[in-house]
Symmetry: C2
Subunit: 309 residues, 2 copies
Amino acid sequence: MVSRNFADVVTQRILSKRSQLVVGLDPRTDRLPEELLREPCADARAAADAVVAFNRCVMDAVGPHAVGVKCQVAFYEELGCAGMEAYAATLRYARDRGLIAIGDVKRSDIASTASAYAAAHLGHPDGSSPRAGDFIVDAVTVNPYLGSDGVRPFIEAAAANGKGAFVLVKTSNPSSAEVQDLDAGGAPLYERVAALVEQWGRPYCGECGYSLLGAVVGATFPKELVKLRALMPSTLFLVPGLGAQGGRVQDVRGAFAPEGLGAIVNSSRDVIFAWERSPYREEFGLARWQDAVAAAAADVQQELWRVTH
Amino acid sequence: MVSRNFADVVTQRILSKRSQLVVGLDPRTDRLPEELLREPCADARAAADAVVAFNRCVMDAVGPHAVGVKCQVAFYEELGCAGMEAYAATLRYARDRGLIAIGDVKRSDIASTASAYAAAHLGHPDGSSPRAGDFIVDAVTVNPYLGSDGVRPFIEAAAANGKGAFVLVKTSNPSSAEVQDLDAGGAPLYERVAALVEQWGRPYCGECGYSLLGAVVGATFPKELVKLRALMPSTLFLVPGLGAQGGRVQDVRGAFAPEGLGAIVNSSRDVIFAWERSPYREEFGLARWQDAVAAAAADVQQELWRVTH
């Protein structure tokens, strides 16, 4: 038995670091600093090695400013087996640095298969050691289209191992409305999904009042964030879409409870490639790209803290 | 440019093999024949090696009876990096044997990330060689919750590379109704998703009249299969859920057009672990497990062909 609740860990981390920032490690290999690329883009193994080197530098830079990192596994899968090794190496480094590691895997399947995914990414539901710990993270993202028997295995694995899961409710992309906003009995579908997630998660609340079962709600929909915050009082939010996707820091205020708790906000490209854009390009440039990353993370951290307090 | 359309390839294969069967390579390592397990279940690498050996034997056995295989990637992810290598080795063997390989990955993400997934599993949208071909399959499964910009990158990659994608419409699991059957403007959600899939896929029809964009519809819902067949005349169906999940061969008849085309049906546990159940246990037993697998595949193949002709 693990007594630690994932939402409690996140809440403690927010308070001790005065940060609600999660940095997205989505390494598009065509944008990595040249010094890390020995054979740029040609070979999957060389690209994967560059990704690990880059991620380590980014984690060193953002460590003081972020509660954790979120790895978008698609960018690792794209590099095949070498990429999955880079994913595992990145997660190991995040653990060593004490950063919460979120696997943005958006997995979904029927019950028996969802159990295999849950074991792969969160550990066994009986808390025993998994045969392969390569992809074990502190929390994953999960797609709700298959209903509760596709989500329950993640809840059980999370409860047994002090882990968490964030269910997609309202995603940050422009076409999310096509399915998620369909009218479902007088309310958009995402509100019906929100009610299910709140209901599934409520038995798993920690001392902080939030559940190990969280929700993904995009920063690009500020009004929906406010509505969902009210509909899901026990649910921790993971808010992607800040920066490159168009979400602004003031847009995510609605995701938070009054005391600045209840949500963590992900920024990927705007932080990890900060040296490419103003004002960091002028101040640091490519030569000091790691300082640019640290400065961008610190700026988002402080701005988030200010608008939520 | 690739002129080959995935639906045409499937249709030709159905006719030449007189088979609509896809065999699911979902290797639950606690059920593999003992002869393949050197260090049963203890070590991920040993388990992954056993999985590859098992899959090769299964593909040898079912090759004459099946149009292809479907790998449920969750069971490979569960074994970490070693498992992903086993997944890649399994796909290579399927290609060598001329079997259509379907990656049951149910991926879903926003546009730029979905592009990375599509490149990982189907190849680049410009048809150029991917840096890592490890996970390249003939078709993948995709979750529709994020709307068209999460699906379009798969369509583009499929069109450029002679590949296909099957979008989840109505899944085979008991709780699929919780989200998929929600009333969405007078029709269940899955019918609205069905209309979107038919619309997205129609510009990509092959000479056979079916599109490279298919749909996943569970064998456990025979009435819905009939309704969806009528709503989606251009859409190839991938029908899971036969056997262990409760679907019977006569239940899937509605998935097919009159001439026995328009659908392929997946059976996993009932075929690949056939020696564990009657009548194959009595006739072959563990000692001749590969013959049991071949016989079970032949039986499902023939039964499917009979009920659809």
